[in-house]
């Protein structure tokens, strides 16, 4: 396990930051900088670094009225972002809220919040896959990203540098244009610690998510970087997306190395910074099967199939559409797919959205299902179990007292069409 950075000596401000602290750039920026200094000093940061891009999680589900009032206060003070700020997936699809029975009060409040964020200068892209569609930081670039799945992608796949920047921290970075340099901004903190020899076959996005989930369960620490070695399959972008999202969800991980795949792990020596791993584990087919088995079916009938968390890429939408071609979702089962505005538009131009909708599925955009008040939605439709190919989704919705079932993508679509889980068990 990695030592957790801790405070001590103070943080040194540059000339621009000193002006912000003196209030020369306004009270909102001053308060934001004070918060950043407090967080930075808590974790022993020695400086603040400029960021080229900020990605912010801010929606009513996560913010509550306290957060709304905070943002409203910033708008009243005339606050404006100093660098480009993009928004994460939110809790409402404004175009389809009625179809999925979302509360009109929530929709209205979310609309008001979006207006405030746009006034601050936010680019309302509402996506948790900004790295696939909006902004791709270069190797070594410092950013301030929220949503854990975006952070682990930036650090691991791109070699960019960010900590988990929760909503208020991203907001602060947007106002000041800097972020405290501790944790994953520092090369020494990015070195691998734990070695995982991956011997299992990985054939579906769900398998990659399950791999992330089971490694995450063993790491369980924000500051510790796992190294995946021996991966036989060359991962595609959506494989890494599911892997990272699950590692972050189950393990609070903000970074991993995959030897021969990610840019700071051309070989094992580089991944571990020339030191030996602190511990080694093997992950085989039996481990993967055991992970699936932690999400057993409660009964054969499936109430709702959810493909979400993270939002689907165009390639994922294309595959789902092909699996549904000429078929029809069962009358007792619902199929929900979430993506972002850009991918929905692209997939519509390619005919994929029409195929999914013609089959009876819904393609929601700008949102992610687990923040759409899933317990309320499930109660409104009488859903008790949720079948998904996303390990991250399975992890989260258990907390909402819904029964999660994790299976591979083709199984999910087959169950959506037949209304039942096919025989063959969790790994089938």
């Amino acid at each position: 396990m990695s030592p957790e950075p801790a405070g001590g000596a103070g943080l040194l401000l540059g000339p621009r930051e000193a002006r912000i602290r003196a209030g020369e750039l306004g009270e909102p920026a001053r308060l934001a900088l004070e918060q950043q200094v407090a967080v930075g000093e808590f974790f022993g940061a020695k400086a603040l670094v400029p960021v080229g891009n900020v990605h912010m999680m801010g929606d009513m589900e996560v913010m509550g009225e306290g957060g709304f009032a905070f943002v409203e206060g910033l708008v009243a003070q005339g606050a404006r972002f100093a660098v480009p700020v993009t928004t994460n997936a939110r809790c409402v699809d404004f175009d389809r809220a009625a179809a999925v029975r979302q509360r009109p009060e929530l929709v209205a409040r979310e609309r008001a919040l979006v207006a405030h964020l746009r006034t601050l200068g936010a680019l309302q892209v509402d996506t948790c896959i900004n790295y696939q569609t909006v902004y791709q930081p270069h190797f070594g670039e410092h950013v301030a990203w929220g949503d854990t799945g975006t952070v682990i992608w930036a650090n691991s796949v791109l070699g960019a540098r960010t900590n988990y920047e929760a909503g208020p921290a991203a907001l602060a970075a947007g106002l000041t244009g800097v972020t405290p340099a501790y944790g994953y901004h520092l090369p020494a903190e990015r070195r691998g610690r734990l070695r995982f020899e991956v011997r299992c076959a990985l054939g579906d996005w769900a398998d990659w998510g399950a791999l992330g989930g089971l490694i995450g369960r063993r790491v369980l620490d924000y500051w510790t970087v796992p190294v995946l070695a021996g991966v036989r399959q060359r991962p595609q972008a959506d494989d890494l997306k599911h892997l990272g999202a699950a590692l972050a969800s189950y393990g609070s991980c903000a970074m991993y190395h995959m030897v021969g795949v990610t840019p700071e792990a051309r070989d094992e020596a580089e991944a571990f910074g020339g030191r030996p791993p602190e511990a080694s584990h093997v992950v085989d087919d039996a481990d993967l099967a055991a992970f699936y088995a932690t999400y057993p079916e409660d009964r054969a009938e499936v109430d709702v199939v959810v493909l979400s968390a993270p939002q689907l890429s165009v390639l994922e939408l294309a595959r789902v559409a092909e699996l549904l071609r000429g078929r029809r979702v069962h009358g007792n089962t619902a199929l929900l797919v979430t993506t972002n505005f850009a991918n929905r538009e692209m997939a519509a131009r390619l005919g994929h959205v029409q195929l999914i909708e013609a089959a009876g599925g819904q393609v929601l955009s700008g949102t992610c299902w687990y923040i759409m008040e899933p317990a309320r939605m499930a109660a409104a439709f009488g859903w008790r179990n949720v079948l998904t190919n996303s390990a991250k989704m399975a992890n989260i919705i258990g907390g909402y007292r819904l029964h999660p079932i994790l299976r591979r993508t083709a199984v999910c679509i087959e169950a959506a069409v037949t209304g039942r889980l096919p025989a063959g068990g969790p790994s089938g």
Partner: protein, 157 residues
Amino acid sequence: MTADRPLAPPPGRVVLTAPPGFGPEVEALVVLSRSTFSIRYDMDRETGVISRKGHALEGLSLAGKIVYFPAVQGGVAAGWAFLALAHRGVAPAGVLFGRTNPVMIQGLVLAGIPALHQVRPDPFTVLATGDRVRLRPARGLVELVTPPRAGSAGCSR
């Protein structure tokens, strides 16, 4: 439980040390958890009550308490959640961690709630739930103010 405490320091005695933390000094009853903490997974964010089945503090309100968690889990939800709890008047008075992550501290800083991490020794060896403690973040200290009332955990559910 008091019987679990090998040491019973006198009132006002420093019982825990830590690196410098965040926030003003605060005094309140302490609640010790052996379970880790995730806002999204473990807590009802409307009430500030620990809601996850099987959590060591299940059913307990953290409102006005200084609470200890050995470690944390979960994602960015904690960033806004402490402010939301404070807005409803059900936020903890302070938080002590073994290990933590940036999101917890970002959220506590936003809400102005004092925090320490890397507290030593294990709080279970020197404190019991219901003890009254003083948290002094700038100096990285936790002091025992009064010992617990006999036979009482000192916390409402």
